[in-house]
């Protein structure tokens, strides 16, 4: 009998090369970090039951579910608005999976953990580079920490939200993209960031 190993492979495993890309000899203006192996559950309220779902979610997460394009952080998860009466639960370490959430939340749950790739973008030129990809106004006043958008980049649907600032005060933008488009969008990101210099990393930790 053959022994099988089930190795999880990120859709960016081939394209993502850790190190520096684009302009060299300057401090890289862009930092791109792929966050791997997360749990992402889409939760949708059943018809007329958004309030009940909201209460159940509040009980589980300790915060109100966002009812507008926003992302809310809890101690062990991020809740991201994804449409009217629906949201994503993003977490790590198996705390909030289909198995644990289905009994707790009365709604329609769908596992999206493998359907998306998560890339976090920061750096002095992050907004400049994102302006090439996104039609969303990312000015600090218009897109503060916790702001989110269901939008598109390079003709590809994405969920974009601003996470907590880095310790050096720089803004962090998270992009949740469809897995099968990820390599293509990744190359567009590298093209767009090349003139500023790009630091490339991947991590298992959620920021």
């Amino acid at each position: 009998m053959v022994e099988f190993s089930w190795v999880s492979r990120s859709p960016l495993e081939h394209a993502l090369v850790t190190g520096t890309d684009g302009a060299r000899g300057i401090e890289a203006g862009i930092s791109l970090t792929e966050i791997r192996n997360f749990d992402l559950i889409q939760v949708m309220a059943r018809r007329g039951q958004a309030a009940e779902l909201g209460q159940a979610a509040k009980a589980r997460f300790g915060v109100a579910v966002p009812d507008a394009p926003k992302a809310v952080r809890t101690s062990d998860a991020t809740l991201i608005w994804s449409g009217p009466d629906q949201f994503f639960v993003l977490s790590k370490g198996g705390k909030h999976t289909m198995q644990t959430l289905e009994p707790a939340l009365s709604g329609s749950l769908s596992d999206q953990s493998h359907a998306r790739v998560l890339v976090s973008i920061s750096g002095a030129k992050a907004r400049t580079m994102l302006a090439k990809l996104s039609s969303i106004d990312l000015h600090p006043d218009a897109f503060p920490v916790g702001a989110a958008a269901a939008t598109s980049m390079d003709h590809t649907s994405v969920t974009l939200w601003r996470g907590g600032d880095r310790t050096d005060g720089q803004a962090v933008f998270n992009v949740l993209m469809f897995a099968t488009f990820a390599e293509s969008l990744w190359h567009t990101m590298l093209d767009s960031g090349a003139e500023y210099g790009v630091d490339i990393n991947h991590t298992e930790r959620l920021a």
Partner: protein, 993 residues
């Protein structure tokens, strides 16, 4: 070594004499300075002749100093970067620049085609329309190529552009076009009020006309005011000043287009940088401070090199310290033209004469003339003596009828100023006539936009500053920014007294549109021939249709038409203004979307494994799909595909089918919802089972098909075709949200969540047993045909298993979370090795589906009904569903419809091809007896011959009939037999077994 800059002043100007730059024009070496344009550098070197005109090949010089230039168009750079029709007046000089003149042969000075001038009487407006009508077949072969060789401008590079372009978005409260006094004042006011401001300036230096005309602002020289203002703006973090950026269009919802020439001023962009960037700017308010364009007066010989706009002449002298002429005459009909005299005298140049068309001349100018020792002539220029070496003598018709001659080597012309009304008119706005300046000014503007200063027809420096400041403050306020803007900068207003003069009668060609060689007599001819409407005039004469869009010519053309047709200028009206304001390279619109990144690409979870296997890929929509997996020694695709089909039919193979659309349908009403979108019933599907479903469009035509499984009471898993995945999701969301909001159902795309593989062939079950946990029962009883359930794999991973078949073999589809897709492909190879497992691609998949008579894209063509596809019996009569009623229309149930049928060539060795028409045997093919066409074909390794599917009139009633296949595209004619479309295992025993 480059020649001396013979026409450069010893001091002054905004050029950096410590930074000399070498360049070549038509192969000859010259030098200029940092801060020059190509035009100013040519002028500094005494070059007057820079090009040949479009139609008559007349020698032409530099007319303007801006983006309105019609004459000085060059091919800039060489090789792949060669860019035709580049305006020398805006091209920044850089070291090593190479430019060439256009539309001349063999050289600029000796141009053979200038013989066209001798035939000028026949090259009038409409010449080509009138002359090359007959014989019609000569047009493409002879006339057009000959005309194209003779006319036209620069040559395209003809090879791929090596540079990159990109696109970006920007957002602001107040967008400002132009950095002259009005634009800078607007930026100051808006910035101080706290607004987010973007100011776009076409030039590479900020200041607009102030750079050439100077003046006093707030009691200090303009240059000092500019630096102080720029410093203040630089201190505002939300004010962004963009040079080399032209605002070229305004679109819906306050969106503007701008082109930034990021690196056009360098020989080539630095590594990783783009040449140009296209900006889409979203602005709450916009202040157009784009200034005005000085207009020529139309007179004989007005295109002679050395004839130049008065404002351009003083720009070259004041800003670039370059002298277009040593002895200058001025022809003006307004006060502003006299500024050129002041500038020229200040630079120590001679004034030959001023020809002023106005009845009155101010005492100040009279005393200037007597001090400068030059005559002031009341009258008009009626002719110019000169050729390719430029102006020599100027003929003047004096008021009262006498004639005079002026000797000069340069003629500055000012016919007044036209506000730049492009941006304000791009939403089909029509500017209005203002008689005090004899010019069109904006009459309203797109929402949120306002014009200020010269762009609004108010030319005085004081007015520009106060209007710009007020517009900036108001725009900021409208955008919700209420900070204190302070007070407006103050300056005096100059007098601008103008007596309209458009055209001076005289002997010789008088040009209206320099770039398209349209003369005053062309306009008169157009009027005589009935092309009086401005839109007809434009198209008949091509007035204003060149790359400069008639910036210097349109209004004069309208004025001449008005005069000859006895109407006023406002009665004559303007043509429609359309963006872009300046030509924008297609490369900028494409951005990074070229070559391999022309569009986004989707990759399946096993893509990189398939690459390792040497797969050949095919583009399927955005997807890259493995088409076949060639092996060493196979001579062509057919051999590889045939091997793959045989391997599946005799053993086992697998194929990544993750590209199918996958949708989670949740909710207590999920079954009821599916009953309404599919023609067959799903509410009665048992949990753990899959069913094939067909959905129609509202009009009764088949939309899509696929299998849907019930995974729980309130959870179905729906699949779509690859091609329609996105569209079906949209359709279902429309049904859910709009048509059936009463149903409690939720939809989620899970297309990317699951890696799905088809495992097919007699050994499929044996292979699967190696992969799934021993506890799973895969027997026919434990997991029958159309079963669907979760299984545990060896190693503990959960997967979904479906017993469905597209190939006609015993087959399964297995889904694992997508990041395990790569591992699944590798494990299938490992587990299947003892069974000779063979990965197969979309070609083998297609062969097996044709053998099995399954419909796919070519049959789901948007014209076929369920019955046409042989699936009429699936249409439930017990419920309503989308498309049911319309599917019952007479024509959709007519007995003579074209329906799916199998075809086999009567000559078993013959190859079939899709697209051939089906004609009754023995008849001559024609539209009257066309009975259908071949939709899908393949070489069937199983039957060892070509087979196909076709849509044929009454096809199912005609099984066994020999018909004729007529393929005029490929010149093929042959007979085929109509047969059962299920060529392989018609009883379905293999897939159920």
């Amino acid at each position: 070594m480059a020649g001396a800059q013979t026409h450069r002043l010893g001091n002054g100007g905004l050029v950096d004499r410590s930074a000399p730059l070498n360049f070549r024009f038509d192969g000859k070496a010259f030098s200029g300075f940092q801060g020059d344009t190509l035009a100013s550098a040519l002028i500094a070197n005494g070059v007057k002749l820079v090009g040949r005109s479009f139609k008559y090949h007349r020698p032409r010089g530099i007319l303007t100093a801006g983006s309105e230039e019609p004459n000085a168009l060059v091919e800039l750079r060489t090789g792949a970067r060669r860019e035709p029709n580049t305006k020398a007046t805006t091209a920044e000089l850089y070291d090593g620049l190479e430019a060439a003149s256009q539309n001349r042969w063999p050289s600029l000075r000796h141009d053979v085609m200038s013989v066209n001038q001798l035939f000028a009487p026949i090259f009038v407006a409409g010449f080509y329309y009138k002359t090359f009508m007959w014989p019609a077949k000569f047009w493409e072969a002879i006339y057009e190529p000959a005309i194209r060789r003779a006319a036209g401008l620069g040559r395209a590079a003809g090879i791929a552009d090596p540079d990159h372009y990109d696109k970006a978005w920007a957002h602001c409260d107040v967008l400002i076009a132009g950095s002259g006094p009005a634009g800078l004042a607007a930026a100051l006011a808006a910035g101080r009020a706290g607004a987010r401001v973007i100011l776009c300036e076409e030039d590479f230096v900020l200041g607009g006309r102030l750079l050439s005309d100077g003046g006093m602002i707030d009691g200090e020289p303009a240059a000092e005011w500019i630096s102080r203002t720029l410093a203040e703006l630089a201190g505002m973090p939300d004010v962004r000043v963009m040079t080399r950026t032209t605002l070229f269009g305004v679109y819906d919802g306050g969106t503007y287009g701008a082109i930034e020439r990021v690196n056009d001023h360098l020989p080539s962009p630095p590594e990783h940088q783009v040449r140009q960037r296209l900006w889409r700017i979203v602005a709450k308010r916009c202040v157009v401070a784009a200034g005005a364009i000085e207009r020529p007066i139309v007179f004989a010989g007005n295109d002679t090199p050395g004839v130049m706009m008065a404002s351009a002449m003083r720009t070259y002298v004041a800003r670039y310290a370059a002298t277009p002429a040593k002895r200058i005459a001025l022809f003006t009909n307004n006060e502003d033209g006299w500024r050129t005299v002041e500038t020229a005298l200040g630079a120590g140049l001679q004034i030959a004469a001023v020809i002023d068309a106005r009845p009155e001349i101010s005492p100040a100018h009279r005393s200037l003339a007597s001090k400068g020792g030059f005559p002031v002539l009341h009258g008009s220029v009626s002719g110019v003596d000169g050729g390719k070496d430029g102006v020599r003598k100027i003929a003047v018709s004096l008021t009262g009828g006498a004639r005079a001659e002026v000797e000069a080597d340069g003629l500055a012309v000012s016919g007044g100023w036209n506000p730049a009304v492009g941006l304000t008119s791009y939403h089909r706005g029509r500017p209005k006539w203002r008689s005090d300046i004899s010019a069109f000014v904006p009459d309203g503007a797109p929402p949120g936009m306002v014009a200020a200063g010269a762009a609004n027809g108010d030319f005085g420096l004081g007015a520009c500053l106060s209007q710009g400041f007020a517009a900036g403050a108001a725009a900021a306020h409208d955008a919700g920014r209420t900070g204190n803007a302070g007070s407006a900068p103050v300056a005096d207003d100059e007098v601008f007294s103008l007596t309209p003069l458009w055209h001076v009668a005289g002997k010789g060609k008088a040009f209206v549109d320099y770039q398209h060689d349209v003369t005053a007599s062309d306009i008169e001819l157009a009027q005589r021939e009935g092309f009086e409407s401005v839109e007809h005039l434009k198209r008949y004469t091509t007035l204003g249709m060149a790359t400069d869009q008639g910036k210097t010519s349109n209004v004069a053309g309208l004025a001449i038409m008005a005069a000859v047709s006895g109407r006023s200028i406002p009665e004559t009206g303007t043509t429609i203004y359309r963006p872009p304001y300046v030509p924008v390279a297609i490369g900028a619109f494409a951005g990074h979307h070229r070559d391999g990144t022309f569009h986004a690409t989707r990759l399946t979870p096993s893509h990189h494994w398939a690459v390792e296997q040497g797969a050949v890929f095919v583009d399927t929509g955005l997807w890259k799909r493995a088409q076949w997996y060639p092996r060493a020694g196979e001579k062509d695709w057919l051999e590889s595909v045939t091997r793959e089909v045989k391997a599946v039919r005799s053993g086992v193979g697998f194929c990544d089918v993750s590209t199918l659309g996958k949708i989670d349908v949740h909710g207590p009403d999920a079954g009821a919802f599916l009953d309404r979108v599919y023609i067959n019933t799903f509410s009665n599907l048992a949990v753990g089972k899959a069913r094939y479903g067909l959905m129609l469009r509202e009009d009764g035509i088949v939309y899509d098909d696929g299998t849907t499984s019930r995974l729980a009471e309130d959870h179905y898993f729906l699949t779509t075709t690859t091609a329609k995945a996105g569209l079906v999701m949209q359709h279902l969301e429309f049904c859910r949200q709009v048509l059936f909001p009463e149903l409690d159902v939720q939809l989620t795309s899970v297309s990317d969540q699951w890696a799905q593989f088809s495992i097919a062939g007699p050994s499929a079950r044996e292979l699967l047993k190696q992969i799934v946990d021993e506890s799973e029962d895969l027997s026919n009883e434990g997991f029958p045909f159309m079963g669907a359930r979760e299984v545990t794999l060896r190693g503990g991973l959960k997967a979904r298993l479906f017993r469905i078949s597209f190939s006609g073999e015993m087959a399964f589809e297995i889904s694992v979370p997508a990041r395990f897709g790569d591992a699944m492909a590798r494990n299938l190879m490992l587990a299947g090795a003892p069974f000779g497992v063979t990965p197969y691609g979309t070609e083998a998949l297609g062969v097996m589906r044709v053998e099995k008579g399954h419909i796919a894209g070519p049959e789901l063509s948007g014209t076929t009904t369920a019955a046409d596809l042989g699936l009429g019996k699936m249409m439930s009569t017990k419920k309503d569903y989308i498309g049911r009623v319309m599917a019952g229309r007479e024509a959709l149930v007519a007995p003579d419809r074209q329906v799916v049928v199998g075809i086999k060539p009567t000559d078993e060795t013959r190859r079939l091809r899709s697209g051939a028409h089906i004609i009754p045997k023995g008849q001559t093919p024609g539209p009257g007896n066309d009975q259908g066409y071949v939709t899908s074909v393949c070489f069937s390794p199983t039957l060892n011959q070509w087979i196909g599917l076709a849509l044929v009139e009454r096809g199912r009633e005609r099984i066994g009939e020999i018909v004729h296949a007529h393929d005029p595209l490929r010149g093929e004619d042959y007979d085929v037999e109509l047969c059962n479309p299920v060529f392989y295992d018609p009883d379905g025993g293999r897939q159920r077994g």
